[in-house]
């Protein structure tokens, strides 16, 4: 009981709560950015993979196919390691900012690039599913109205495709929030890494001088609760949209 009280007192420390809260902020910002950019590049990949079927443009199709399949069939952690070594980081990301050291900012940028590359390939397949769900007659109708292929895409096909995939994209946000915890492998920035960091220095804060099992339960339980609240809210939204669509 004594150790449990000590562990709970960790969470009463405002500095630690702020530290965790910042981690939550990083988790959310990284995930939203990854999904946002992922939607843009994923849409391009999906369009290229689906519609570059004629003549010379076919080479772009095969490039898109290769990109999607390679990223889909290898683990995210591998890409994080690869980006840490090979991804160049621009001048802007080599300074101290956001309460992180310049080294951490650099790692954050590189790992975020890996997450974005990985998420793009997943979203590309989601968008492709949306494109395939648009009835073929829509294309023909668009063409018969004198629309150019680009106009058909922008005004007719893409809006319908996106509307169909709203629930899937939202659940991809959940997946990306969970995937962002892979960043804990390389730097102490987001929620998961900060929780692990706190556990290893828990003896400083629980007033007992040792790390106990109750610290594991309290710290990881607290982090799990935060993840759960965010993701459960999102998955309830997904269910709501799915009901609307049905």
């Amino acid at each position: 009981m004594n150790t449990l009280e000590g562990s709970l007192s960790i969470l009463k420390n405002p500095a630690i709560l702020l530290y965790i809260l910042k981690g939550v902020g990083f988790t959310l910002v990284i995930s939203v950015i990854a999904v946002g950019i992922g939607i843009l590049s994923g849409s391009v990949l999906a369009l290229v993979r689906n519609y570059c079927n004629s003549g010379k443009s076919r080479i772009f199709k095969w490039m898109a196919v290769a990109y999607i399949e390679i990223f889909r069939n290898t683990p995210l952690l591998l890409w994080i390691f690869i980006c840490l070594v090979f991804c160049p980081s621009p001048e802007f990301f080599t300074h101290k900012m956001l309460g992180l050291s310049s080294v951490e900012i650099k790692i954050l940028f590189k790992a975020a690039v890996a997450l974005i590359l990985f998420t793009s390939s997943v979203i590309a397949e989601i968008v492709r599913g949306g494109l395939n769900s648009v009835a073929h007659g829509q294309f023909e109708a668009g063409h018969s109205q004198g629309f150019h292929i680009v106009q058909v895409m922008i005004y007719i096909v893409l809006p319908q495709a996106y509307r169909n995939i709203v629930p899937t994209l939202l659940s991809q946000v959940i997946t990306t929030i969970k995937d962002s915890s892979y960043l804990a492998n390389v730097a102490t920035i987001e929620l998961m890494a900060r929780t692990k960091q706190l556990l290893s220095s828990a003896y400083n804060y629980n007033g007992l001088g040792t790390v106990n099992v109750s610290d594991v339960f309290v710290l990881f339980g607290f982090a799990a609760l935060i993840y759960f609240i965010i993701n459960f809210f999102l998955s309830s939204l997904v269910r709501y949209f799915q009901k609307q669509a049905a």
């Binding site: 069939n73 952690l77 591998l78 090979f86 959940i174 929030i177 892979y182 804990a184 339980g221 459960f232």
Partner: protein, 243 residues
């Protein structure tokens, strides 16, 4: 690009090929054990969710929601450190097998549940009226019909499971990714980044690509068949209207 064209670096990878094979076999071992556990949990909780009993449904919902809404790395660390600090440590790879098995069990449960729920209620009633027991009903009537709906997403889950063995790295695992990383950063072996990452990525790709391709081809052919039956049915309806 550190050493992608350097024969020296490639030679180093070849000399230490045992490291990669050890990693691959550890990853495969973890994945197979985790897969068996997740199938077991998935079938149990999937059946619980479709049993129609409120209590069982509630338990399986709680399991699925808690597991699906928190990251695997968190669950793995939780399990590992809880065991370690209570002096019950069971080793890294067994911990990974259990954590990954429990995590994917929740996804398998959802797949099984969706598959069983896609079968019209009349089938259950018909089976019951023929005097089938619960097991017989599931085995002879429901399973053969739902297996084609269950298998494609299940294969996709297997691919995810194999990729997720990489999270063992955080607790100092011996899986393919972890060993690759310690190879490229090791004092005597370090430096051959590009060849080592290419080899380990390729090993993952060789295992995962056939699985995910089979799953998506399967899914598409099912979808096409669905469309065909639907249009046939619609055509039938129209004919009736005309008549």
């Amino acid at each position: 690009m550190a050493g992608i064209f350097s024969a020296n670096a490639w030679e180093k990878v070849w000399v230490y090929r045992g490291t990669f094979l050890l990693g691959l076999s550890n990853t495969a071992l973890t994945a197979i054990a985790a897969l068996l556990l997740s199938l077991f949990l998935g079938i149990i909780f999937g059946l619980m969710a479709t049993s129609g009993k409120k209590g069982l449904l509630f338990i399986s919902r709680i399991y699925v929601e808690i597991i699906q809404n928190t990251p695997l790395i968190l669950q793995l660390c939780f399990l590992y450190y809880a065991l370690a600090f209570s002096k019950n440590s069971i080793g890294i790879i067994p911990t990974g097998m259990i954590a990954i098995g429990i995590y994917h069990g929740a996804y398998m449960a959802e797949v099984v549940r969706a598959g069983i729920q896609s079968i019209p209620k009349g089938q259950f009633e018909a089976a019951q009226s023929q005097g089938f027991h619960y097991v017989g009903q599931m085995y002879y009537i429901i399973l053969p019909q739902s297996i084609k709906i269950i298998l494609p997403p299940m294969v996709n889950q297997v691919v995810n499971l194999i990729k997720n063995t990489s999270c063992l790295y955080i607790i100092g695992g011996a899986d393919l990714i972890s060993l690759t990383y310690s190879f490229v950063t090791g004092a005597s072996t370090g430096g051959a980044y590009a060849p080592a990452y290419i080899v380990s990525g390729l090993l993952f790709f060789i295992v995962c690509f056939p699985l995910s391709t089979v799953a998506s081809i399967w899914e598409n052919s099912l979808k096409k068949r669905d469309v065909k039956t639907n249009t046939l049915r619609d055509a039938g309806d129209e004919r009736m209207v005309v008549e």
